[in-house]
Amino acid sequence: MIGIIRGKVYVVGNNIDTDVIIPARYLTTMDPKILAKHAMEDLDPEQYPAPFLNKDGTCDYQIVIAGSNFGCGSSREHAPIALRAAGVEAVVAASFARIYYRNSVNGGIILPLESTLDLTDAFKTGDEVEIDLRGSPVVQSYAKGQAYPIKPFGPVKDIIEAGGLTAYNKRRLNLVS
């Protein structure tokens, strides 16, 4: 999971909440395929004219770049699941809401990457970007040379490398099935 991620970015602002990422009307299922079809469905189309999903329900973006407090609101793990199932591999944000961050890591679902700077002005939706998580992690565009640093994972790195809390706990606590 920790290597190089390349793809198109979708850029959003501050305080993107879980009701926008996956509205409560879809919470009666945890089927990733269904959730993927409704990812980011309630984004304000005036503020975000480029649709996150295509008409056929597919998604062209592998990376989301966000401002502060991404994923605020509910504890629904459906939110990172919906984004991942739509095809997003990483969200780079100036900061994350804590439950969203924990769900991403503990569920082994999607990479939450904290940038040291707010990158919402550095990139625009559709830019092609590379995230290199080897060594000192950075995010950079294909075209421009500028590389923006990403904060190291810290203590959660072990959980991410294990693939999530379940695998981590099974190994750590010797909990066998």
Binding site: N14, N15, D17, D19, V20, P23, A24, R25, L27, T28, T29, M30, E41, D42, D44, S68, N69, C72, G73, S74, S75, R76, E77, S95, A97, R98, I99, R102, N103, N106, G107, G108, G154, P155, I159, G164, L165, T166, N169, K170, L173, L175, V176, S177
Partner: protein, 445 residues
Amino acid sequence: MTGQTLTEKILAKASGKERVVPGETIDAKVDVLMMHDVTSTGAIKLLRKEFGNKIASGLKIVVVPDHYVPNKDIDSAKLYQELRGFVEEQKANGANIVDYMIEGGDYGVCHVMLPEKGHVIPGQVLVGGDSHTCTYGALGAFSTGVGTTEAGNVLAAGSLWFRVPESFKFEVSGKMPKNVMAKDLFLRVVGDIGVDGALYQAMEWSGDAIRNMSMEERMTLTNMAIEAGAKSGIIEPDETTALYLVRKNSSYPPSIVPGKLVGSSEIIKQFKAEGLYSDEYAQYVNVKRIDASGLEPLVAKPHLPSNVVPASELKDTQIHQAYIGSCTGGKYGDFVAAAEILKGQRVAKGVRLLVVPSTADVQRKLVREGLYDTFMDAGAVFSAPTCGACLGGYMGILAPGEVAISSTNRNFRGRMGSPESFVYLASPKTVAASAIAGHIMGAEK
């Protein structure tokens, strides 16, 4: 050596350490796991598939389906059915599991049920598959919301990793005006510090205004901690807490002998003995002082809880729906406050007032104390206890273009229905006053 905050003390004890420092990652023993209908079935599947369906010893599980009960459609009925199967199976296995499934009629919204049924013990660690699990901090416990994978792992391991939060102290002094509630106090705070103003932190409430506050009003403050991005909210247990624990038949203090009457002074002694207070020289990342006497009725405009303005500025905002309910604004005291405003009044033409008691006990009390009639006479529409429309589930979904004023906790885009609807958050008193006026307004002083 510097002192410790109450939050640090609880987490140190739960992780078997002398002391912990903010930023440190710990593995804390979890005393209680709360599970509801939306986020739990995945955790149950995880327990079965990955952990041999074996629940950690020493873990207490409280199951409270509330989001879509009574079942709103076939899919939610299936979630409920799975949860019921889990409860029956684990009871047969001898797990320490308490349930409030709706069969039998003793049910309601989880964050009101757990304290009301005596499951929140000061000094304990509680987690739940719901972001508003931070509510239980009102009784001096550490409590926070977790996701589905986390809940599944807590079931199996009985513990969970945490980053010890910094504490942000709110010192609230003075007498709150009569038309102001704890909701207004929280809106003032989140309006000032923003929806990420306490990100990853513990919001600790103190001061004489908090000491004079009822347990239910305290719960409004800790319930909404998540709306400022906080990990938890917490209030030092005191006499109000002790009396509440006695009334709710809680099993605190741990030395309690069944059938033996324990006075509140004995319980307060126990709080002190356990060190359930923040030390004098505890370190805070931030301190904010608030004069409660200067507060006025406030409203959070769409689409963010921090978008706060005085209710008096929104006189031109006509409403279609007024909603009193949820874990935030559907406690018994919330209805008492609203009924004071509604007594002998009628809702304005064209306004639907929805009243959703948080629990069956609250509903029963509303009938018994005559408040049910007050609401009905005012033209209110009653629903059975449920999280309902607070999260856009059912029982009061908004159409495009509609405007609601609500005693709930979030006003994100699409939160209560159509993404083209508008939710204004306010206290139950302000919701009631607005329902009568037909437009947003605070109650009179």
